[in-house]
Amino acid sequence: MNVNSMVRKNAYYDSVTLMIISRELKKIEGVDEVLVGMGTDLNVDLVEKLSLATPELEGITPNDLFIAAKYDESKCTMEQIIQAFDEQINAKQDASAGDYQPPTLSSAVEHLKGANLVQISIPGRYAAREAEDALDKGLNVMLFSDNVSVEDELKLKKKAVEKGLLMMGPDCGTAIINGVPLCFANVLSRGAIGVVGASGTGTQEVTVCIDKLGEGVSQVIGTGGRDLSERIGGLMMSLGIDALENDPETKVIVLISKPPAPSVEKKILNKVRECKKPVVVDFIGGDAEAILEAGAIPCVSLEDAARKAVAALRGEEIADFEGFDATEEDIEAIVEKAVASLKPDQKNLRGLYTGGTLTDEAMKFLGENYKIYSNIPMTPDMAIEALEGEVKGHICLDLGEDEFTRGRPHPMIDPLTRSEFFESHVDGTTAVVLLDCVLGYGSNADPAGAVAESVNSARAKFAGEGKELVVVASVCGTDKDPQDLEKSVNELKEAGVIVMPSNMQAVRLVDRILARVSE
């Protein structure tokens, strides 16, 4: 064991900072004891008593700061301890020293040598020009902005294809390039599954499921929602497939999109047919036959796409997944308990989603059996307006649609919209609330907390009427996300929310509950 100390003259840090620092210093491997404090006589006495005193402390005054440490010199050095101290102290100051922010793309390219991707989220009417400039400079583009015209999109994508660059978007919310989540994306393990997705939360759900199954992604390329339209012709999805096929790290390719325009579907599937790597295709609710015929693997849900990609990667048998992670008995027990808690007039569904594709998935499945009113209805007569004035009947809403976000942030960023709908739409006829909770970069810092709050106040309201409320949710996130998956799940569970491992499983559980209450 070695003993050493250091003195900083006239150094003042608030008590909290000093405490945090002593705690951090104690965590350094090899450190046995560390005291950080002001150099009063009595504090120096303590240092002496603990046999931590060294000549450095001579002449110290009460207004000086000291660090005294006992440590195993084979494991660490005093320099390391002092360095760690300085890092802690300076951590905050560094963050405040503003980095230079150049005014133009050209200047940015000069300031960041070797820049290779531009992430654009400026207003749509200016975005195309900047994206074009970026492509001209040989940079890949992630275009988050919406309100870019189809003409501009086509022009940009043609240019990108010509140059072999990514032109993700417009209105592209999710991508992960070289392990770095862009815009709204989760933090995932790196691995061998490459994804090209035309739908944001759909891509998030698939990649999160892949992560939960213990595999990782090589690249996640977003194309923007219009890529598979007739006009754009799937230019970016085609380029994505080529890029992933050429990428040695990618062993399996997953394609995610709402059903493409028929001509584009044909084009994409032709490409898939030629692809030498296994391709899993989820054209959410699309034609499975055509996919099979192209030698690819069709899917029944987003979660199923993830499972099949993992199975393909591991060389396991590929089968549709239409059940639950939990056993049939456990599921039945949950359903039984939920149904038993409801009063006879509680019959309705309230789907309150923040993720668009997750809403689609719920609507498609539940819409088979029930009349569900929505802002994205299956048929025009099921439009939410048909229910205006009263909220009796099944409802499922995509709260991220323009009509709800006008003048305020997307509900994935700001949970207020959903909280309001909780108050206005979860009425006494509600049997079950179905929702999503999307984590990852770009999303709200604590979406689960906001849901828990809404659930608790709804419960209080219900209790006043002698009723209970069933809430079923899934969390689209990984244990590596900044919000922390486990913490989010626990927050929901503490509020009595039934948390399912995927959106599809949540939807299926709700289906069973609805089946029972509508008997």
Partner: protein
């Protein structure tokens, strides 16, 4: 294809627009720079048009 070069290099991001996306990059230690973007000539269309005319030389 250039995309495959990207896959093999360190990602270096120029962020233009929402600064929070830039902060996300920084918090992950991704090398990134934020463009303090304004529309050309600050959105003054007359000036932007004059500039465009001069560029057409």
């Amino acid at each position: 294809m250039k995309v495959n070069e990207l896959f093999k290099s360190e990602l270096k991001v120029i962020n233009m627009g929402l600064e929070s996306f830039y902060q996300d990059m920084k918090s992950q230690d991704v090398s990134a720079i934020h463009v303090n973007w304004k529309p050309a000539a600050g959105g003054n269309e007359k000036m932007a048009a004059l500039l465009a005319r001069m560029k057409s030389i």
